[in-house]
């Protein structure tokens, strides 16, 4: 899998990640932050996309501490109606100071048969 790189400004504010799921499909997700070795996961956020809680979470407490660390997001997407011909899309958007970070968003799309389990990851690079 090609590595996704999220470029952050060293003097910017703490970045945020927002997950968006299209085609009006249901999603349940989890976001984890790992250390530079890809270990010691810490949960950044989790949730479902049907409640009133925004699917947007701040990442860590300082930008400098994110350099070289990994972030992953896993989701289960399900079609409420079922049936053939369904599609899904999952988009992870990283923002800092209200603007989208370079290289972001990261999108996965495709056909959806009943449910699908997705996984994606990115590495932070502070400049």
């Amino acid at each position: 899998m090609p590595e996704n790189i999220v470029v952050l400004k060293r003097n910017g504010s703490v970045p945020q990640i927002e997950l968006t799921f299209g085609f009006a499909q249901f999603a349940k997700y989890r976001i984890l932050l790992f250390d530079r070795e890809g270990r010691n996961p810490v949960e950044i956020g989790h949730g479902i996309n049907i409640d009133v809680i925004p699917d947007k979470f701040p990442i860590g407490t300082s930008v400098a501490a994110l350099d070289g660390r990994f972030i992953t997001w896993q989701a289960v997407i399900a079609s409420p109606t079922g049936g053939p011909g369904q599609q899904f899309s999952q988009r992870a958007t990283f923002t800092q100071d209200g603007t989208t970070c370079p290289n972001s968003p990261f999108t996965q799309t495709g056909p959806l048969s009943n449910t699908i389990t997705t996984f994606d990851q990115a590495k932070f690079q502070v400049e």
Binding site: F21, I48, I50, V76, A78, S79, P80, N114
Partner: protein, 567 residues
């Protein structure tokens, strides 16, 4: 065993008690004994034995090869019609993986055996020295542009002229629903007048007994007089062409916006080949940006997401019919309290979204740098688990919300080029529908078991069989109003409906017809139901006045009653 005996005794008692009532109903409506079923069978009638074996083969045996059988697909049913025959026996110890229900129907001197297909199953006929075999297989590998698509007549067929099909009256265009979920068909195929009629497991035995017990019962009174489809068709374009393909392309992405060749019979029994697809343009173009939260909060998003367009083009495949027909369709769901995408947390796990939230499981944590093959394996295992959980959620929600209130409207114009030239298209009429369903929300005694439906439709330039000229068709405009109340549980079902139909034959007379029916059903034992239906027609023409009582037993592999509307 004792319980079964008691139930059979109770059934016979019901039959005996109902006998006088049936007789009175018969005399009240003065039913005409003109049914072919009531006439002596001709000497060429064959005795059929139907055998379903563990290898998923259905064998219909008689003394010789059956070379005049006709098969077609109607809605979700695969129907085999065998002329000049009666069923002498049915033997089945096996549930099929290709169909959930078998119905045997005596249509005058013909036998119709229909199979309610499971999704993805197709049937075909194969002649044998002592009858024929009905073979089933999955169409998942062959449904695209092959000769094995559902909707195409079987490989072994002998097309009967439309005039030979049993047509009840000029209102045969009123469809018989194939199932509660099946798309409506404004014009059912002529060979389909009894597709949903009650079953007589042994036409020569039990059916004869029932007909003797109930003098007013007539095999000619068929499902279209007792169970009218009041739903708005899912694909109006196909419906207005009288062509309801089972393989409808529903592209959800530009790549999937493909076409599919379709083959089948139109409502006049003519072979048609064509092109059909339907799509939801807003979802197709903008799907990635439609979140379920927006769908819940914004009426316009919801309306556009549910708006469906359909397109159909067919061309006659026989020398008698070279016309090319085009139709477009628009289907709008204005209101739907049973929409599974609308979040109702107060319903608990009866709401599919809440059930998803409670049930679906995230996979184990996957560390960065995990090989893709391992990720795929983890996710595939998680998907397998969640697929089952999601199916259970949908099934539960469907059962809990089947009768929720909704309002749907649809419109479908059509054009025809009688020569088949692309430049010669002319207006060929159209149809408009609306259905309003009320689910008695908030009324505790009814909200889970009952539904009231109002339906209206207008159809212009409709082709219908001419009752005065066998094999000919006339053109008419028709207006239809109907209402139905249905309620039920797994043990008992009740259906009442009343319809008003006004037809104006172009260049001819205008006629009004009111048709009503009431039906009840009780489960006797597993998969065996006693059904009684009564009703009548009141029309301007005296010949339309006819009352009827139908009684029958129904047996099926699927333990689901006929009138119980719950999924």
């Amino acid at each position: 065993m004792k319980t079964t005996t008691q139930r059979l005794q109770a059934t016979l008692l019901v039959l005996l008690l109902a006998l006088p009532a049936a007789g009175r109903t018969h005399s009240l409506f003065d039913s005409q004994p003109d049914s072919p079923a009531e006439q002596p069978l001709s000497r060429s009638v064959r005795l059929l034995k139907v055998l379903i074996t563990s290898d998923q083969l259905v064998t219909i045996s008689t003394e010789s090869t059956i070379s005049d059988a006709v098969s077609y697909v109607s809605g979700e049913r695969y129907v085999v019609v065998i002329p000049q025959a009666v069923v002498a026996g049915v033997n089945s110890d096996f549930a099929s993986r290709y169909f959930t229900n078998l119905q045997i129907d005596q249509r005058g001197e013909d036998v119709a055996i229909s199979f309610l297909l499971k999704p993805g199953s197709v049937g075909r006929l194969e002649p044998k020295s002592n009858g024929l075999s009905v073979l089933f297989n999955s169409d998942r590998l062959t449904s695209q542009n092959t000769g094995d698509v559902r909707g195409e007549p079987a490989l072994f067929t002998t097309a009967r002229p439309a005039s030979s099909a049993p047509v009840n009256d000029t209102r045969a265009a009123i469809p018989a629903p194939q199932s509660a979920k099946a798309p409506a068909a404004v014009n059912a195929p002529p060979l389909n007048p009894t597709a949903a009629a009650p079953v007589t497991p042994q036409a020569g035995g039990l059916s004869a007994l029932l007909n003797n017990l109930f003098p007013g019962a007539s095999n000619k009174v068929t499902a279209d007089t007792t169970n009218v489809d009041l739903s708005v068709p899912e694909s109006p374009a196909f419906t207005v062409l009288g062509f309801t393909p089972n393989t409808v392309i529903r592209p959800a992405s530009p790549k999937a916006f493909a076409t599919s060749l379709l083959n089948g019979l139109d409502q006049n029994g003519n072979f048609q080949s064509g092109l059909a697809f339907d799509f939801t343009p807003f979802m197709l173009i903008n799907g990635e940006n439609i979140t379920i939260r927006d769908y819940n909060e914004q009426f316009l998003t919801r309306l556009l997401s549910r708006t469906q367009f359909s397109f159909a083009a067919t061309k006659g495949a026989s020398a008698d019919d070279t016309a090319t027909r085009l139709a477009a369709g628009l289907n709008l769901t204005l209101w739907d309290r049973g929409d599974p995408r609308i979040y109702h947390p107060e319903r608990g796990d009866d709401d599919v979204l809440q059930c998803f939230a409670n049930s679906l499981q995230l996979p184990p944590i996957i560390a960065p740098g995990t090989p893709q093959a391992d990720i795929d394996k983890i996710n595939a295992g998680n998907k397998a688990t969640n697929d089952q959980l999601a199916d259970a959620c949908r099934d539960r929600a469907r059962k809990a919300n089947w009768n929720k209130s909704s309002w749907v409207i649809a419109y479908a114009p059509s054009w025809i080029s009688k020569t088949g030239d692309t430049t010669g298209y002319k207006w060929n009429g159209g149809a408009a529908w609306t259905s309003v369903a009320y689910g008695f929300e908030g009324i505790s005694g009814l909200e889970r078991i009952a539904q009231l439906i109002f339906h209206a439709r207008y159809r212009s330039r409709e082709r219908a069989p001419d009752p005065a000229n066998a094999g000919k068709f006339l053109t008419q405009n028709s207006t239809f109003f109907g209402a139905r109340f249905r309620a039920g549980s797994p043990k008992f079902g009740l259906n009442f409906e009343d319809t008003f139909i006004r037809t104006h034959v172009l260049g001819g007379k205008t006629d009004n017809l009111n048709r009503f029916s009431i039906g009840g059903e009780a489960r006797i034992t597993d998969n065996l139901y006693f059904v009684i239906t009564s009703g009548g027609n009141i029309g301007a023409d005296n010949s339309q006045k006819k009352g009827f009582v139908i009684t029958s037993f129904k047996y099926g592999f699927n333990p689901k009653s006929q009138f119980n509307p719950q999924p």
